[in-house]
């Protein structure tokens, strides 16, 4: 274990330092930084597996000269699970980066990109390993700052700088809330060590516990991107380099989930009132629905994926929130099931979202644009990317036989089991959440039908797309690993016993034997009679029915003949302009939900001077109202702007005046003290 930790540290440190030593040789910088990251993340995967299988948590600590700060780490099963997830996604992204970084050569510094990426992964690993509040905050803040620097890689563009600023402000506000929560713990525990947080000297009062709940929910929620704190995601994710987006969206936002579980189930020992769980559930449902709805309207592929992160964080929170509700009613098994569903979806989302972002990066690499309306016909030109992207899309749309289906099914089952709760209100609310989740799933399917169809099918819509070529092998490998895992976790739910280790330490009950029912291949939500699902059989059924359908077509449809001729087009030659556009595809959904979108459509037609029957040019514009920015953030910003303007009075611009302020304050305070 110690060897693995050293290997992980050594790999990352090498990845940070080597690019700095190899100035002026981008080729070797690209290779060394990626290879170092591959070594380190492989060690991380092994470390995670080790931590998940070992029974006792492993701890280690290093004293520092700064008061209250001990560099203490603790590899318990929860931390191990997150180390595993982070390293797995990091591994795929690092392999991908070998090819992808070539895209940036000459445009931006490979030194910075390679070094920062390694440092970023290292800090993220320490966020989940930290066993000291101070150390945690240090790693957390470093992680946020490093990701900011990675976001502004292409800082020459104003759009990128704006996105970076937005992100760094939001994440700092979030951190401020977390600091408050940790200070409350510190006050009662007298130390920053997590050990003391778990068993404080004098327990927190009810009010303080509520304060900690709200503070951590807002603080971690900002990082996770729950509505209405999600506004930074659609700015920051698209402009970052794609392998960074994959890690940011795949795992960084999950560190917030880690934080929430750590605080609620570990520090508070699962002791909380029902409304905590309900709040989390409510926010989860809202995030899931609004996330996918805004995603549908996006035509920038990476922005679309960013909104889907909001949706999936919502789904994870639905599982965890339901688990929290069950926990507060003492329904231990169901609480464990909720956590299981949440954690299962956490790793699944990490895998398929990273896969999709890497896929989007490949499209960007091949076509130089993120606008979906300029793709089209890419399946023939980039078959591998297309195939992997399809697996990711199927997975995020929660269709069998992929992992997204399994975890969403578990979330559904958890919500359905709400009839065991004694309160009528919650008995009513959880099925509503399930209904919202169902709507979310359908919309996600529509969204990825659009994303895949518009990008990969039909004819190319632009010159870029026409000249696109398949991406280099390392990039395909990075995506291939994730795609394989997506299918593997969908067919073989063998991670359940490992996840159960995590849950057993949190909820104090092991449900692996009940969930992995019957022969070890079928899943059942605690109670086999209620429902059960055998994923391999399901996959087999799908394959069999496909073969059966093909067989029937051959048997009953007569002889298969190949006829080569032009597509049916009423005698006109087909052009890309006749294709369904991304905007057109979602038009019906936009109509149905116009109350939420509040769309503004502008259609201007320029007619020929001779006759109004002939249009010369049509201009179509369509926006949806960014409700949260308009009604929540803009007024807030305006408020602070006004306050700052008022304060400007005391800003005389004269240095001596400022010094006098300090002087007078000092004297006044001193006199006050006497």
């Amino acid at each position: 274990m110690l060897n693995l930790l050293w290997l992980l540290l050594g790999g990352y440190v090498a990845g940070i330092l080597l690019p700095l030593c190899l100035q002026g040789r981008p080729e070797s910088q690209r290779l060394t930084s990626s290879v170092a990251a591959i070594v380190a993340t492989s060690a991380g995967v092994a470390l995670g597996l080790f931590g998940l299988t070992s029974l006792e948590p492993v701890t280690g600590s290093l004293a520092s000269t700064i008061p209250q700060l001990t560099l203490a780490i603790r590899l318990d099963s929860l931390a191990a699970f997150f180390v595993f997830t982070i390293s797995l996604v990091g591994l795929a992204a690092s392999i991908y980066a070998i090819g992808y970084l070539r895209h940036f050569e000459g445009q931006t510094s490979i030194t910075a990109l390679g070094s920062l990426f390694n440092a970023y992964l290292l800090c993220m690993t320490f966020v989940v390993l930290a066993n000291n509040g101070f150390f945690f905050l240090l790693a957390w803040e470093l992680m946020s700052l490093l990701s900011y620097f990675l976001v502004v890689t292409q800082h020459q563009k104003a759009e990128v700088r704006y996105a970076g600023l937005f992100y760094v402000i939001m994440t700092h506000i979030g951190t401020a809330f977390i600091v408050v929560a940790f200070l409350v713990f510190f006050q009662s525990a007298g130390s920053f060590s997590f050990e003391a947080f778990r068993h404080p000297g004098h327990p927190l009062s009810e009010g303080m516990r509520t304060l900690v709940f709200l503070m951590t929910l807002i603080g971690f929620g900002t990082k996770a991107g729950i509505v209405p704190l999600h506004v930074w995601l659609p700015y920051a994710h698209p402009v970052a380099p794609s392998h960074v987006s994959a890690v940011m969206s795949g795992v960084m936002i999950k560190t917030a989930i880690y934080g929430l579980i750590r605080v609620y189930f570990d520090f508070f020992g699962g002791q909380f009132p029902w409304w905590w769980g309900f709040t989390v559930l409510f926010l989860g449902a809202t995030s899931a629905l609004l996330g996918v709805m805004y995603a549908l309207m996006e035509h920038d592929l990476k922005r679309l994926l960013a909104f889907h992160s909001v949706e999936n964080i919502g789904i994870i929170l639905l599982g965890i929130g339901a688990g929290m509700i069950f926990q507060s009613y003492g329904l231990k098994e169901l609480a464990a099931l909720g956590l299981l569903a949440g954690l299962y979806h956490t790793i699944n989302h990490a895998l398929f979202k990273a896969l999709l972002f890497l896929g989007a990066g490949s499209l960007l690499y091949a076509t130089q644009t993120r606008n979906m309306e300029e793709y089209g016909g890419l399946l023939r030109r980039m078959p591998w990317t297309g195939f992997f992207f399809l697996i990711g899309a199927v997975s995020i749309a929660a269709l069998p036989p992929t992992n997204g289906f399994v975890s969403e099914w578990l979330v559904f089952q958890t919500l359905f089991l709400s009839f065991q709760i004694p309160t009528v209100f919650l008995k009513l609310m959880l099925p509503i959440a399930a209904a919202i989740l169902a709507l979310t799933g359908v919309l996600a399917l529509a969204c990825f039908a659009k994303a895949f169809g518009i990008a990969f099918l039909a004819q190319p819509r632009s010159t870029h797309a026409r000249h696109a070529e398949e991406v280099p092998v390392p990039m395909r490998m990075g995506m291939g690993i994730l795609a394989t895992l997506c299918v593997a976790l969908g067919i073989a739910p063998m991670v359940v016993p490992l996840l159960d280790r995590v849950i057993a330490s949190l909820a104090g009950i092991s449900i692996a034997s009940k969930v992995l029912a019957i022969d070890g291949w079928a899943l059942a939500p605690v109670n086999v009679e209620f429902s059960s699902l055998s994923t391999p059989v399901l996959a087999l059924l799908l394959v069999v029915s496909a073969i059966l359908g093909w067989g029937l077509a051959v048997a009953l449809g007569g002889r298969l003949t190949t006829r080569r001729s032009k597509s049916w087009g009423c005698g006109i030659t087909l052009t890309p302009r006749m294709e369904y556009t991304a905007t057109g595809f979602v038009q019906p959904i936009k109509r149905v939900f116009s109350t939420i979108y509040q769309p503004t459509v502008k259609l201007e037609t320029e007619f020929l001077a001779e006759s109004r029957y002939f249009a010369k040019r049509r201009h179509f514009e369509f926006h949806i109202e960014p409700i949260f920015e308009k009604y929540l953030y803009d007024p807030l910003v305006a408020f602070f702007g006004t306050m700052a303007d008022r304060l400007k009075v005391i800003q005389g611009g004269n240095l001596h005046l400022y010094l006098t302020y300090i002087f007078v304050t000092l004297i006044a305070l001193l006199l006050l003290a006497v």
Partner: protein
């Protein structure tokens, strides 16, 4: 032992008083280079005070702090400041916000204020450096006042350094010095601050042909 402590206490008091005296000299001095010289002198007194405290209490790490003070504040910083002054076209402070006699009176008032404020805590301090704490506070206040009263960036910088000397004396007097790590950090900060302020003064000279910080008012939004 008793005698030694009592003599030591007297000596520490004497040195602290000399520090305070140089403060007044700085307030009264218009020539910039003389101000810097006075600051170096003050720092030298500070070195002696710290070394005395180190000797009398047997705290080894104060010796290190004293040596660092000697190197940085007596040698390096005055030299840097002299170089900056060489670059300037005005060698003396012509117009001040508060003229010299008034300034001296105010400083006298500040010393009284410092003693008044420190009165309740003085009996609690260590025997050896009892009065030094009040003097340190007075030096801090005078340093701050100098920064307000002067217009030239260089003399403001001297004011800042005087203030820092006061803090160092205070730390030595109240607790026989801060932990060495903190002290090292503070020294590093002061050195960097001086370097930055020196560069900034030169840029100011180049941009406005003057080092009056009053001119910065135009930077206001």
């Amino acid at each position: 032992m008793q005698v030694l402590t009592s003599i030591g206490s007297q000596l520490v008091d004497l040195c602290s008083a000399l520090l305070l005296l140089t403060c007044f000299a700085i307030v009264a001095q218009r020539r910039l280079s003389a101000c810097v010289d006075l600051f170096a002198l003050q720092s030298a007194f500070l070195v002696v005070t710290a070394a005395l405290v180190a000797y009398l209490t047997g705290n080894q790490h104060i010796y290190i702090a004293a040596a660092l003070t000697g190197v940085i504040k007596v040698l390096i910083i005055p030299r840097v400041l002299k170089k900056v002054i060489d670059h300037l076209n005005v060698k003396r402070e012509l117009v001040m916000h508060v003229n010299v006699p008034t300034g001296l009176l105010i400083c006298g008032g500040l010393v009284m204020l410092a003693f008044f404020i420190a009165q309740p805590i003085l009996p609690l301090g260590p025997l050896l450096t009892r009065d030094s704490l009040a003097i340190a506070l007075a030096i801090v206040l005078i340093g701050l006042f100098t920064m307000i009263a002067r217009q030239k960036a260089v003399s403001q910088l001297v004011g800042f350094l005087v203030l820092e000397n006061g803090l160092f004396l205070g730390a030595t007097a109240a607790t026989y010095g801060m932990p060495l790590v903190v002290e090292l950090g503070v020294f590093f900060d002061v050195l960097i601050a001086t370097l930055i302020a020196g560069i900034y003064t030169n840029r100011l000279q180049d941009a406005f042909d003057s080092v009056d910080t009053d001119r910065l008012t135009v930077l206001k939004e």
